[in-house]
Amino acid sequence: MIKPKKTLKQRNIKDRFMVSLLVLSTVVVLVPLLIIIAYVIINGVSALNWEFFTEELGSPSRAMQGRPTGLIHTMIGTAVVDFLALIISIPVGLGAGIMLSEYPDHKLNPYLRIINDTLNGMPAILKGLLAFALIVKPMGTFSGLSGGFALAFVMIPIIARSTESALMSIPWTIREAGLAIGLPRWRVVMSTIVPAAKTGLVTGFLIAFARAAGEAAPLMFTSFGNNYFPRHWTGMIFGPVDTLPQRLYSLAISPYKEWHAMGWAAGIVLLFFVIAIFFTARLLTRKKVY
């Protein structure tokens, strides 16, 4: 054996040192992140009350005078905008995902894949600007619909990619088996491949949704925000509407103390909403794996 220059002991010391360094930096980074969550929970819970879930926001004076105020219109607005985003993004993302996985040799796919990834890497705020130019401008008004489109632009590339990988995880032989009994391709895809990949597909939708549901930037100049319920329910779609992330931002940068507290309350609601979506997605994947 060749005589080593560093003894095993020296090398073991270095090994130990590196382990400690790695674990230490893990702790140093993860602790502040835990602190963020802890703060949001503590401040949010203490700011929550019954009115928060039953009243609309109104003008700042309402909060300052201690009259009941809340964010019910925001939560309903969020539900509307998120629902619109889902029904816009799922068909497009699913279709593009099917295109990518079921027609692997199609000439469009290499371009589609790279453009989709690039679109996914684009800042969410640009998707807001896009929705502003494509929908707000022609409609002449900020609207829940444009907010739905802006969030859909965030979700579509994520769904397309996750759909592709969910469908690709189904073995190619199953498609061949379907084709071999004389089924046309569309039938094979729609009634064997898509159902088989169901869990993976839904997980992808949820992950995309969790990502979009927390985005405020695309909503600032699309759904815009609204301190009140629209006078008619159609105003939720065709008029400016409040959403949680955007309202949270407005509350936090407002000069009113009472609104800051409501901001924390909005924070905990938003956080739990996103985490709930996220955990549902995780649970689904777990079921699939085991």
Binding site: R11, N12, K14, D15, L22, S25, T26, V29, L30, L33, Y39, V40, N43, V92, A96, M99, Y103, H106, L108, L112, I114, N116, D117, T118, L119, G121, M122, P123, A124, I125, L126, K127, L129, L130, L134, I156, P184, R185, W186, R187, A210, A213, G214, E215, A217, M220, F221, F224, L248, Y249, A252, I253, H260, W264, G267, L271, V274, I275, F278, R282
Partner: protein, 329 residues
């Protein structure tokens, strides 16, 4: 009496047309159009930003707009993007520099050191953190982190500098808590989970055989990581860093809430500044003149181009540095 159909009759009956060539044609057309619509989205994003920003570009010229260091929507109506480009670059580069090594450390701990169940917990936690909305981090930053930093970090530094090196004060800037340093630290904290997840993915691509080969040479655990794991995963790690950089560039809400929003040079270390996304968020809703609006769109276009370049570099790195020649068969 009409006889019941036999099996042969059913089989011989011609299939409905959608079960022959037409169904597949329609299906392909539909998914093709849906796929195409994504391409349309991407191109229309570029086109929209260009056409909306054209007014400003025509007014100041591409170079003039990018080099202009004055942003004055109030009086002079002069718009230059340089302060925001600068702010974006400084905050993102420093944030990535802060985040990069800890992110790799966490990924290595998850993948190599931690017992499986702890690793799983940390990994889930990291994914969870990555899902925290930017505004939620922002509200914590505004009400907790920034005041705390002002009291415990900035003020002592500021007092020390004022007493000993008063000439450095302009460089240091106003320690109000909302400024470039605060925004950068928050930005670093926000991209760490993302970088960690991508590094983790890259590390999990390293074949078992590579690790074993290093073990068999008599390497210690750290030496295995240093010799076999990290070099093999370097393509994925670097591409991940690049994508994280892209994230940092586009990160909007938390930065807008914490950077203090100062539109003109000079920026200072602790003092307020602005980034491309933050100025769009802050001024777009209140923009009055067409030129102002158009200038904000033009900043959006610059942001688009920079993000595009960063993404393409990431894609290039992935392709160029990913290992294929290492294993035969």
């Amino acid at each position: 009496m009409h006889q019941a159909q036999t099996n042969t009759d059913i089989i011989k009956k011609p299939l409905p047309i959608i079960y022959r060539w037409l169904g597949d044609k329609i299906f392909l057309t539909v998914v093709f159009i849906l796929g195409l619509s994504i391409i349309f989205l991407a191109f229309s994003m570029a086109w929209v930003l260009y056409s909306e920003g054209r007014l400003a570009i025509n007014e100041f010229g591409v170079i003039g707009f990018l080099k202009g260091s004055v942003w004055d929507p109030g009086v002079r109506m002069v718009f230059g993007a340089l302060p925001f480009i600068f702010g974006t670059f400084i905050t993102s580069v420093v944030a990535l520099a802060i985040a990069f090594l800890p992110a790799i450390a966490i990924a290595v701990v998850i993948a190599e050191y931690a017992p499986k169940w702890i690793g799983n917990i940390i990994e889930n936690f990291v994914h969870l953190i990555a899902a925290i909305p930017s505004v939620v981090v922002g509200i914590w930053g505004i009400f907790v982190f920034a005041p705390w930093m002002r009291e415990t970090v900035y003020m002592p530094i500021f007092t020390f500098t004022a007493n000993n090196y008063p000439s450095l004060l302009p460089v240091l800037g106003n320690p109000m808590g909302y400024g470039m340093t605060t925004a950068t630290i928050i930005l670093a904290l926000m991209i760490i989970p993302f970088t960690t997840a991508l590094t983790r993915d890259a590390i999990s691509q390293v074949p078992k055989e590579q690790r074993e080969a290093a073990w068999a040479l008599g390497a210690t655990k750290w030496e295995v990581i240093r010799m076999a794991v990290l070099p093999y995963a370097r393509g994925g790690i670097l591409a991940g860093a690049m994508l994280s950089f892209g994230r940092a560039i586009g990160e909007t809400m938390a930065v807008a809430m914490l950077i203090g929003n100062k539109n003109t040079f000079p920026f200072s270390i602790l003092g307020p500044a602005a980034t491309m996304p933050s100025v769009i968020i802050n001024e777009f809703r209140e923009a009055v003149g067409n030129l102002h609006l158009s200038s904000l769109m033009a900043i959006g276009l610059a942001l688009f181009v920079i993000s595009l370049i960063v993404n393409l570099i990431a894609a290039y790195i992935t392709r160029k540095l990913s290992i294929t020649g290492g294993q035969v068969v």
